[in-house]
Amino acid sequence: MNILVFTKRVPATQEEEIRVIDDGKKVDLSKVPFKLNDWDNYAVEEAVRIAEKAGGSVAAVSMGDAESDEVLRRAIAMGASDGFLIEAATERQDPNGRATLALNFLRKQALPFDAIFTGVQAEDDQFGSMGGILAAKLGLPFASMVIGIDTFEKDHVIVRRELEGGLQERVKVSLPCVLAIQSGINEPRYVSIMGIRKASKVERKVFKAADFQEGAENMIEVERWTYPPTRGGATMIQGDADNICKELLGILKEKGVFQ
């Protein structure tokens, strides 16, 4: 089974204070460390496991700046045999643009594959759409939120999709297909620094995004970046026991965990 996995290098924004600058025109990421998108880590791990079990190979593809080579090396250290970098200086804030770039690349390079994996979403733009758009443009079957790949045969896979409230659905998808992998599908192996260094010995092929730009213009635009409505410190719930309980249950209902 030959699997292509799209991997993205993203800013690690979980711990950081992110500032908007230039009057809302830019987001300041200058002091933020970068890393492999969490969901893509799960996708690479899943692809490598399938290749280990069923035979085949995994190739990692990344669309981004030159530093994105880092995530390709990581994927190789995890077990991918090839890495492809589609280098572009500036980041696109549009899943359509990214998907079309990928589409053009895949068509021009005629890379063979049985399946394409992406992560469900990217930690930075949170669009969660690239895989679905790419699948539709390729005319391939698609399933997202894949929390388990139960069987893989020559012509189809049977996967479980994560729905809401602990429910899953089992679907049969013909090959070739595109799957968007959900976090938690597996426990990704640890990749050591020495392992990543060794991976540098495998050649990563670099391409220029400019060569695949046909029809990949942005279809959406950002007027401005701004902050979501803020919340202060802990809101203390006061009052007598009855009141506190009522308020507490109200919060639980609002959060959707209690009916």
């Binding site: 979980q14 992110i18 987001v27 549009d94 899943p95 359509n96 998907a99 949170q126 669009f127 969660g128 759409s129 679905g132 758009i133 790419l134 539709a136 443009k137 391939l140 079957p141 698609f142 399933a143 997202s144 939120m145 049977i158 999709r161 809401e164 602990g166 429910l167 659905e169 089992r170 679907v171 049969k172 998808v173 968007a180 213009e217 279809m219 959406i220 635009e221 950002v222 007027e223 970046w225 701004t226 902050y227 979501p228 919340r231 802990a234 809101t235 203390m236 719930i237 026991a241 009855d242 506190i244 309980c245 507490l248 249950l249 919060i251 639980l252 959060k255 959707g256 965990v257 209690f258």
Partner: protein, 312 residues
């Protein structure tokens, strides 16, 4: 006349509540709402939309993205293209929306949580929800959105007249993907990292004897029990339930911390939870610095009161 096309999410015969956000979104935009819904016996608010199109495909066919493009294609033929196609921001909604946008080559903005009608912009979360981007389609023409649950439903107002009902028949679906069955969560070894709601107990509850009452409360609230390290060290709870740097890292929708002081190693394991509610006798307990809501008081007493209320 311009209209919005809403794709209803119906799951196991239930018209999902989050459809109200799609409906509210359209009301806010001031558009006529055409609702595409699958075949089946379920209730839609009679007056919530302008037109309901009952598609001759039962829900598992309807929710299949490969089929949805055929359904929407037919709708375009019948009524012409809408101004916007609205999906829920759920597992299926997001999947359908992306595939639809790709097939019809439409702009897509996902997880919309607000809009500014005057400026024609839609608010979308970015960078671990710390930034909002004000997005809009770059050119005219139809576009796709998914709307965040809870963001627009208060705008889903009743219309003066009942919705017109239409049908869509004669659909031929291609193969490629087929629904097989639903799978319920296995009640095996507990994985606290997958729980939506964690009720976590700390050393402050006092003794192992207090645990059964917490378990009963958790059951009543449909929460999963977890604990801080001292609780596991003392064997009041098994290791699989430990939250913290030497246990598991969790990010549930709600983390209810009962009698947990908030030591650094514990906080590291749960600080990214959507909503942290802390209960502690000590108003200075460090956990309050990380909580969204705080209650200063006796956790055991609060537990008993909650159980009383749930019973009654």
């Amino acid at each position: 006349m311009s209209h919005a096309l809403i794709i209803a999410e119906v799951r196991r015969g239930q018209f999902e509540e989050r459809n109200l956000d799609s409906i509210g979104f359209c009301s806010l935009l001031g558009k006529q709402a055409v609702l595409l819904a699958p075949a089946g016996e379920y209730a839609i608010g009679e007056k919530s939309v302008d037109t309901v199109v009952r598609v001759a495909a039962e829900e598992s066919l309807f929710l299949n993205p490969l089929n949805m493009i055929t359904i929407i294609g037919k709708e375009f033929e019948t009524r012409g293209k809408p101004d916007v196609i609205v999906f829920t921001s759920s597992s299926s909604g997001s999947e359908l929306a992306a595939y639809t946008a790709g097939h019809f080559n439409l702009p897509i903005i996902t997880d919309v949580s607000g809009l500014d009608k005057e400026r024609s912009i839609f608010y979308k979360s970015y960078y671990s929800d710390k930034i909002f981007g004000e997005f809009r389609p770059a050119a005219g023409g139809p576009f796709v959105v998914t709307v965040r649950s809870g963001s627009f439903k208060e705008h889903a107002v009743e219309k003066p007249a009942a919705a017109g009902v239409e049908t869509m028949e004669g659909l031929a679906f291609a193969g490629g993907r087929a629904f097989m069955e639903y799978v319920e969560e296995e009640k095996g070894e507990i994985d606290i990292t997958k729980a939506d709601f964690l009720l976590s107990v700390g050393r402050g509850i006092g003794s192992k004897d207090e645990i059964p009452a917490y378990e009963a409360l958790a059951e009543g609230l449909k929460a999963v029990i977890s604990g801080s390290r001292p609780v596991i060290d003392k064997q009041w709870l098994p290791k699989a339930r430990q939250v913290g740097t030497s246990g598991k890292t969790v990010k549930p929708k709600v983390y209810l911390a009962m009698a947990i002081s908030g030591a650094f190693q514990h906080i590291a394991g749960m600080k990214d939870s959507d909503c942290i509610i802390a209960v502690n006798k000590n108003a200075e307990a460090p956990i309050f610095q990380h909580a969204h809501y705080g209650i200063v008081g006796d956790a055991n007493k609060l537990r008993d009161k909650l159980r009383e209320i749930l019973k009654g």
